[in-house]
Structure formats: structure tokens, C-alpha cells
């Protein structure tokens, strides 16, 4: 038995070193090279820049509080939309803290769709449902002194439909929608990869 163990030591050690180098260095570094060459925008985080400064990522939600912007969902990531602390509330279905939070939010925002008053899984959800966007149109339009129909047209334009009608949910990216709003008001946004 001990003799067998001794015989197995060399392959165990050599394979650990070789396969760690292959799968832990060669593989991820090669993929990094390929990804940077083929899909540089996505490989670097789908960043959005305005006037040369990074204002965020198209994939990562960010906080919006001003009435003139569409608001994202609630976030349990740090103090809200903190990408260094992704995660959900992890409150269970019979948690008093959850029920109290939702009850208070429903009183403050009567009629708000469910996605707006629940925390996402990542705390960084970039999307809201079309209903949640439409529900915010009157507030945004009033704050910006725009006709609700114009704002609603932006929302309709921003809705992404499910693939083949099956895969995915209809959704609206909040950051992209808000940038379109700003563009309407004359603040130019541009995508740079």
C-alpha cells in the first residue's frame, strides 16, 4: 500500500503543476488575448463613456434618485448598486423585515409594479419591466416639462423583446433609457468601446 502510494506521488505532483499551469494560466490568458482582440467592448465591461469619462457599464445598474430620471429596482448591494458588494437581500418569504419594507414602500408608491419594490438577486440589475418604466412616465415627464407621449415613446423604443418570444423577459435598460432622455434634452451621450 505504502509502496503504491509512493509510486503515485510523482504523477500526482507533476500533473498538479502542469495542469494548473495549463488550465490556470495558459487557458485564461489565451482567452483574455482572444477576447480582447475579437470583442474588446464586451471584454472590457461594456463601458459607456460621456465626454470621455466612464459613466458606467451598459450591463450594470446604477442608482438614480432624481425625479427626472427613471429609477431602477431596489438594491441590496452595499448601500445600493455597489459592484464591490453584489448580492440580494436574502430575506425569506416569511421575513418580517421583508413584509414591513414592502408594506411601507407600497404605501409610498401606490400602484408600483412588483419589480420596482423588490430587490434583485445581484443588487446590480440594469433592467426594469416595461410596466415599471411606463408607471414612471408621468413623474419623469412632469419633472422634465416634456409631453408624457414623448417620454412614453422613448420607453416603447427601449423595450427589448424576448428572443423567439420564449427566451428572456421584456425589459428596459434603465441607464440606456436615461441617457436617451438626456439626449432628448441636449446632453450628448456616446458609446465608445
Amino acid at each position: 500500500m505504502l509502496n503504491d502510494l509512493a509510486k503515485a506521488f510523482r504523477p500526482a505532483l507533476v500533473l498538479t503543476v502542469l495542469l494548473f499551469v495549463l488550465t490556470g494560466l495558459v487557458y485564461p490568458l489565451t482567452m483574455t488575448g482572444l477576447a480582447q482582440a475579437l470583442f474588446p467592448h464586451a471584454a472590457n465591461g461594456s463601458l459607456i463613456r460621456r465626454d470621455g469619462h466612464v459613466i458606467g457599464s451598459a450591463l450594470i445598474g446604477q442608482a438614480f434618485a432624481a425625479p427626472g430620471y427613471f429609477h431602477p429596482r431596489l438594491s441590496a448591494a452595499g448601500k445600493g448598486y455597489d459592484p464591490t458588494q453584489s448580492g440580494g437581500s436574502n430575506l425569506g418569504p416569511t421575513s418580517k423585515a421583508l413584509i414591513d419594507r414592502v408594506s411601507a414602500d407600497v404605501r409610498a408608491n401606490p400602484g408600483a409594479p412588483a419589480d420596482l419594490l423588490t430587490t434583485s438577486a445581484s443588487g446590480l440589475d440594469p433592467d426594469i419591466t416595461p410596466e415599471a418604466a411606463e408607471w414612471q412616465v408621468p413623474r419623469v415627464a412632469a419633472a422634465r416639462h416634456l409631453a408624457p407621449a414623448r417620454v412614453n415613446a422613448l420607453v416603447q423604443n427601449a423595450i427589448r423583446a424576448p428572443l423567439l418570444g420564449l427566451i428572456g423577459e421584456p425589459r428596459v435598460n434603465v441607464l440606456t433609457l436615461n441617457l436617451a432622455l438626456d439626449k432628448l434634452a441636449g446632453k450628448g451621450a456616446q458609446h465608445v468601446s
Binding site: 507533476v14 485564461p28 418580517k96
Partner: protein, 576 residues
């Protein structure tokens, strides 16, 4: 406020998504199975021309003769030694993180208990994460300390499955293959190519792949936001294909950088199942009757579809306590809008049916019944498709038990795919099956009475108990998903769960290899008129029943204290 509408807000689109998924799984079984079968037989693959020199170089440096086969004892010894050496390597890398390169954010080394828990977690294909990736690990640790385990623990699982297949297929021999050759060939010709292709697909779909670590952004409203990036796609690809499940980020596949869109999400779910599905066909081919593989796959998919339907139905129905508070509709707490209810429910079922453990929604916030199914899937032994390798060998243990019980009923020596199943195999199978309940229920009971254990749960009432039960279930089942409210990064949980992970992995693998060794020595027994047929609806029904009764019934009392009690409390309007 109980809905009397039986559809409970589920939609034809949602059901369509689930059916489409199952249909694609069935279609994948043979093509993937053929590829696996070539590796099982040790034949050249189209990739051998390119990677052959690498394979031979590895053998030469390691002093390995791939043609020299091992007895089950030597095979098990090599396998165990390799796990220990790789786990020590990872432990060392994690402890020394602060001194190693590719760490621009200056993250320090991990504490001894956390580094040990993480090393064992990744070596056992569990990928339980007691840490938050983005706050704890440097890019070097993610790449070099963790990604190799994603490949090698997956390859180990498949190797053990191959050894068991050989036990069934061979006659009167002591040899069941060469562990080193199986490990290297599965890694080079299956996992690496799959991961390379899938990683590129993921990047095309939006997953970052860079050596940068963080990007400072100033948001539209002028706030500061630090975006965390890194070599995410390369880790994500093998995390799914190898049913590992250890995310780059704390939020795992719910994080938009790990899983940016609905199509990527769908491909991630398929990638969790792809090898496990193929292995069922490969088993049939190996024992010379592909119908044997199809029968197993049918039983698996029946169990899978039933479980998925319950999760979807429960989550779409939502939480009556929230309905009462004025928030109508599905349970969206802890779910992402781009996935919605159906794809979140499907993902939860897939990740727990397989031993993956990646999550795209927070299971902790599921409704009680929606959270019960993921828990139950793991407690069945993750044999519903299951982890790569571990799913099929776990399921074959149940098949041995099923022919044994059928044999008792008709009074004949049980046979399965041409082998007589005798006392030794049944004893070993029961040993491997019993490990799961002993470890899960024992660990949960201990944690439920000790102060260190009770310090873990974030939620009160039955849900807090479920958090503990889920942790021991996930660890022992080598799943790695969590009711993430549990604060598991304490010396108590790090230690207990590391032990559970080790036992749950190797106290099953070693008996499986012993069964392989025992079967390989037997003669071939051709099926006769008195043999119980192991294809067809009767057999499939028996398999489903045995898995549910033997695998599931043990856990019913614990489930009654957790999710079932919570469900009743929820209906009664009680909060905790």
C-alpha cells in the same frame, strides 16, 4: 388571499421555455455521448492531432504509462492522492494571495479556515463559497487557485464514471482503467475545448475577460461607482460545463457580468447539463445497449421536469404575505428582470439537479415550496442528470438498488446490464447512498443545537432552520448553492462544511470504484426470460420510485420542520 387560479400566473411562454430546454437536452444526448464514448474507449479524437503532443508530454514528465491499467484500489489511491495534492496547492495560493502578483487592489491572504474550506470546496467540485469573490480574491487567485479545480474535479468525476462503466462492460478482469490517463484525456479533449468555445460565446454575449481588476466610473447622477472586472468569461465557462458553480462574484450567475442576458442564461443552463446528459448515452453504448442509457435519461428527465414545474408554479404564484401588503404577482424578491420567473425557476432546478450550484436568483428568497425543490433535488443525491460523472454513477447506485429490490420481489438473483448483482455490490451501494443523509441530517442537527451553528442564519423561524439544512445539504451533495443569508464564513461552518464536502465526495467515489472493481471480475450473464427488463416504462417507473423513496423519504421530517412549516406559516399569515 390564496389564488384559486391553478395556473397561478404561469404563462404558456414560461412552460414553452421549460419544454424547449428539455427537448434540447434529449437532442444533445447522442452527439455528446458519442464524443464521450471515444474518450471512454481511449480512442483518438479529431483533436488528438493538435493536442496529442501535449498529452504525451504530460505522460512523459509524470512518468505515466497510459496503457498500464489499474485495479480499483490503485485507481482510487491515485485519485485520492491527486485531490489532496491539488487541494494543498490551492490552500497555499490562497494563503499567500497578498504576496502574489495580479492583485492591484492589494487583497490580503485568506484566513486558514476560509482557505481550507475553499480549497476543499473546489477540489470536491462543490464550489461552496464562504467568501464574496469580488471583495476577497485577486485575479491570480480566481485564475490559478480556483479555475484548475473547475477542470480537474470535473475530470475526476467523469474518470470515476468511466471506471464504473468499465466495471459493467468488462468481463473477468481486475483492471478498470488508468486514472491519470482518464484525467488527462478528459481535461484535454473534452473540458478544455468546450471551455474555450463557451468562453468566447460568453464574451460575445457581454461577459468581461480582462486582466484589469476595477474601473472607476462617475455615474450619470455624479456618484462614484467602482466596477469590478477580471478574467470572468474563462472562469464562467468551465464553472458551468464542469458543474462547479463557483462564481467570480458573490451574486454568481445573477451578476450581469457573469450572466448578462437571456440567451447567455439559456446557454448556461444547457452547459450545466450537457456532459451529464451525454454520459447517460455513453453508459448505454459502453454496456452494448443504448436503450439502457435512454431509460436512465428518461427517468432523470421525468424527475427533473416534475421538480421544475413545481418551482415555476410556486414562484409564479408569488407570496401571499406580499399580495396582502399590496404587491401583486410573482415573487420577484431576489430575481433579475432579464430572467423573470420562468428562467429563474428553471435555473434553480437545473443547478440543483446537477451538482452545479451556480445561481441566477437568490434561493433564500424563493417561496417555501419554490425553495424546497432545489433542496430536495440535492437530497436525492443530485442524480437527476447530476454533476459531471457523479450524476451517472450516483444514479447507477440507485439502479443497482432497484434491480436488487425487483429481484427480491420475484425471487431471483438480480442482474443489471449483463452482470449479476450480489451482496457485495448492494452493500457498497447502500454505503454510498447512506453517506448523504447521515452527513446532512447529522450536521444540521448539530448546528441546530450549538451556539456557533445558531449564530449563522440571517432569517428567523423555520426559514432559519432551512438555511442551516440547505448549507449541509449543499455541502454534502457537493452542490455549492446556498440560502445565502446564512453567514457561513465562521470557523465553525468553514470547518463543519469542509468535512461534509470531503465525506460527501469521496465516501461515495471510493465505494463506487470498489463496485467497479467487483463488477469487472464477474462473468457476463446474458439476459434470460427470467431477467427483470431494465429498459421500458416499468423499469423507468421503478427507478423514479426508488430514487424518490430511498433518496427522498429520509429527508421528509427535516423538510417538514423547514420549508413545509414555513409554507403553512405563510398561508396563515405569520411572519418571523
Amino acid at each position: 388571499m390564496i389564488s384559486t387560479d391553478l395556473t397561478q400566473g404561469t404563462t404558456p411562454t414560461g412552460w414553452g421555455l421549460i419544454l424547449l430546454f428539455v427537448a434540447i437536452c434529449v437532442a444533445l444526448a447522442k452527439p455528446v455521448g458519442l464524443w464521450l464514448f471515444a474518450l471512454y474507449e481511449g480512442r483518438d479524437t479529431p483533436l488528438s492531432r493538435v493536442l496529442g503532443p501535449v498529452e504525451r508530454g504530460i505522460y512523459r514528465l509524470g512518468g505515466i504509462d497510459p496503457a498500464r491499467e489499474q485495479t480499483w484500489r490503485d485507481y482510487a489511491l491515485a485519485m485520492l492522492l491527486f485531490q489532496i495534492v491539488t487541494a494543498i496547492a490551492t490552500y497555499t495560493l490562497l494563503r499567500l494571495q497578498g504576496m502574489l502578483p495580479l492583485n492591484p487592489r492589494g487583497l490580503s491572504g485568506l484566513s486558514p479556515d476560509l482557505a481550507m474550506n475553499t480549497a476543499i470546496s473546489f477540489a470536491t467540485n462543490t464550489n461552496w463559497q464562504a467568501y464574496a469573490g469580488e471583495a476577497t480574491l485577486s485575479n491570480l487567485s480566481q485564475m490559478l487557485a480556483l479555475v484548475p479545480h473547475n477542470f480537474l474535479s470535473a475530470a475526476t468525476g467523469i474518470a470515476v464514471a468511466f471506471a464504473l462503466f468499465r466495471g459493467f462492460a468488462r468481463r473477468q478482469t481486475r483492471f478498470i482503467g488508468n486514472f491519470w490517463a482518464d484525467l488527462v484525456r478528459v481535461t484535454l479533449y473534452l473540458l478544455v475545448p468546450l471551455a474555450v468555445v463557451f468562453a468566447l460565446v460568453l464574451v460575445a454575449g457581454g461577459v468581461p475577460q480582462t486582466l484589469a481588476s476595477s474601473i472607476d466610473a462617475t455615474t450619470v447622477e455624479g456618484a462614484h461607482q467602482t466596477l469590478i472586472v477580471g478574467p470572468i468569461a474563462s472562469q464562467e465557462a468551465i464553472k458551468m460545463v464542469g458543474t462547479n458553480g463557483g462564481g467570480f462574484f458573490n451574486a454568481n450567475s445573477a451578476h450581469p457580468f457573469e450572466n448578462p442576458g437571456a440567451l447567455v442564461n439559456f446557454l448556461q443552463m444547457l452547459s450545466i447539463f450537457v456532459i451529464g446528459i451525454g454520459l447517460t448515452w455513453c453508459f448505454g453504448k459502453a454496456v452494448g445497449d443504448t436503450r439502457q442509457g435512454w431509460a436512465i435519461l428518461a427517468a432523470m428527465l421525468i424527475l427533473f421536469t416534475a421538480g421544475t414545474a413545481i418551482v415555476y408554479w410556486a414562484e409564479a404564484g408569488g407570496n401571499p404575505l406580499l399580495h396582502h401588503a399590496g404587491l401583486a404577482g410573482a415573487n420577484l424578491e431576489g430575481k433579475e428582470v432579464r430572467f423573470g420567473t420562468a428562467a429563474s425557476a428553471l435555473f434553480a432546478a437545473v443547478t440543483t439537479a446537477a451538482s452545479c450550484g451556480a445561481v441566477n436568483a437568490m434561493h433564500d428568497s424563493f417561496t417555501p415550496l419554490g425553495g424546497l425543490i432545489p433542496l430536495f433535488n440535492i437530497e436525492l443525491g443530485e442524480v437527476v442528470v447530476g454533476g459531471v460523472g457523479s450524476g451517472i454513477y450516483g444514479f447507477l447506485l440507485f439502479a443497482l438498488l432497484a434491480v436488487f429490490i425487483a429481484g427480491l420481489m420475484v425471487g431471483r438473483t438480480p442482474e443489471y446490464v449483463g452482470k449479476k448483482i450480489e451482496s457485495r455490490e448492494v452493500k457498497l451501494a447502500v454505503l454510498a447512498i447512506v453517506v448523504l443523509p447521515v452527513c446532512i441530517l447529522g450536521g444540521t442537527a448539530l448546528a441546530s443545537v450549538l451556539a456557533d451553528g445558531l449564530a449563522g442564519p440571517a432569517n428567523k423561524g423555520p426559514h432559519g432552520f432551512t438555511e442551516i439544512l440547505y448549507a449541509f445539504t449543499s455541502a454534502t451533495g457537493n452542490n455549492g448553492s446556498a440560502f445565502a443569508g446564512l453567514n457561513a464564513n465562521s470557523p465553525f461552518y468553514n470547518g463543519m462544511l469542509a468535512v461534509a464536502m470531503w465525506i460527501g465526495r469521496f465516501f461515495v467515489m471510493v465505494p463506487v470504484l470498489a463496485i467497479a472493481g467487483s463488477l469487472a471480475q464477474k462473468k457476463h450473464t446474458p439476459a434470460s426470460a427470467g431477467s427483470f427488463p431494465t429498459t421500458g416504462p416499468l423499469w423507468i417507473g421503478l427507478l423514479v420510485a426508488i430514487v424518490l423513496v430511498v433518496g427522498g423519504l429520509t429527508f421528509l421530517p427535516a423538510l417538514a420542520l423547514g420549508p413545509i412549516a414555513e409554507h403553512l406559516a405563510m398561508l396563515a399569515g405569520t411572519t418571523f
